[in-house]
Amino acid sequence: MSELFNLEIVNPEKSFLSADDVKEVVVPAYEGEMGILKNHISIISFLKPGIMKIYRNNAEEKFYIEDGILEFKDDTLSILTSKVIKLDKLDKSFIDNSIQEAEKSLLKEGITDQQRFLISQKIDSLKSIGAN
């Protein structure tokens, strides 16, 4: 029996990626990294900013993902996100800009703890990408 399942990543503007030969996906879920294999229980979860890894064709693809919702059902993983970029397409200036912007919004008044947590997550993951 094959160990592959379907993956669909959708942007508001378009369908970003659609594949039916995915072996494993590791996503930065809200409460920690989560690996998803075939026959995973149906789940709905949140994503926080971080790196998403997709294993298919014996290769690993990495994406930077900023937010999103994940739904797994009947061996189909759907990820709705407003911002997802392939890691090797990220350039330095974009990373620096985003970090700066995020740091600025961190200083704003009246943000909730949850927002603060998400923003600092974003900064951390961007920094770690920038360092590599």
């Binding site: 959708v10 503007e13 149906s42």
Partner: protein
């Protein structure tokens, strides 16, 4: 009876109008292709989002404390209407169809004694509504600068709505836009987004045994504001496709009408030219005879 010169001038002017409408039709056709593509590409996102929210709201354990964006404030006194129109004219009945739909809704609301608040997106809507409903319009937004419909713009509108909602400025929010069916047909739509109305009562709750991480309420609380932006974005995409389609068929009609008019004027021109020649000939002949 217009003189030959007048007719000639009219023919030339109709012809140049025809050229313009033809060019506009071409441009609209090219843009329509793109707008239609992005409307179709954008559909999966909003559909998925809706599905997930439906699943979530069925699974929610504590109905009492469910987020207000889902259940509403409990009353429905103040209605907020978002009217999505285009920024440019010359697109047939596109804008007036939305406005007509919206106006009948406004009348219904006012008759029931409820308070009405309006936000117009797109300058044409504001132009048409300002005469009757000027004091009701609390905000007008226009995205003339942005070339394509993008999610960023929709998010701005969405955040504005949520902010107003959190300030208890309104109870029910409805958006008006044109749904793109095909080039000839666009259907004006009204869609209630706050509180969320599930369009189809889904009875497939038996299969939705989901695991949630974090808790349902928390996910829902975060998802609902996003859904508002998504719904607005969807409406904007549908709208821009409809606008181009409507403009294309309007300009196609205009081009055809101009063609007909040129034909008619040309016949008239030729007839009066012939009449003039005949008249001159008769004059010459009768002049020669009298000699």
């Amino acid at each position: 009876m217009p003189s030959l010169d007048d007719l000639k001038k009219r023919i030339v002017s109709v012809k140049s109008t025809q050229k313009i409408t033809k060019a506009m039709k071409m441009v609209a056709a090219a843009k329509l292709k793109r707008a239609q593509d992005s409307a179709e590409k954008g559909r999966p996102y909003s559909e998925k989002m809706n599905k997930i929210i439906l699943n979530l709201s069925e699974n929610i354990s504590d109905k009492e404390n469910a987020p207000k964006l889902l259940t509403g404030t409990g009353s429905e006194k103040v209605h907020l209407c978002i009217i999505l129109t285009s920024d440019r004219g010359l697109c047939g009945g596109f804008n007036s169809n939305i406005i007509k739909k919206a106006k009948s809704f406004f009348e219904k609301i006012t008759k029931e004694g409820k308070t009405l608040k309006i936000i117009t997106v797109g300058s044409k809507g504001y132009d048409q509504l300002k005469r009757l409903y000027k004091d009701k319009i609390i905000e007008k937004i226009s995205f003339k600068e942005s070339k394509n419909t993008n999610y960023f713009d929709a998010e701005k509108v969405g955040n504005m709505i949520i902010e107003l909602f959190l300030k208890n400025e309104f109870d029910v929010c409805t958006i008006f836009y044109n749904k793109f069916k095909n080039v000839i047909t666009q259907i004006p739509q009204e869609q209630q987004i706050i509180p969320l109305k599930s369009s189809e009562p889904d009875n497939s709750s038996s299969e939705s045994n989901y695991e949630f991480e974090p808790e349902e309420d928390e996910i829902l609380g975060n998802l609902l504001p996003k859904n508002i932006s998504t719904q607005i974005f969807k409406a904007m995409l549908e709208n821009s496709a409809s606008e181009q389609g409507s403009r294309m068929s309007a300009m196609d009609n205009a081009t055809r009408n101009a063609g007909e008019m040129v034909d008619k004027l040309t016949i008239e021109y030729n007839r009066s030219r012939q009449a003039a020649i005949t008249k001159e000939l008769i004059e010459i002949i009768s002049g020669a005879e009298s000699l």
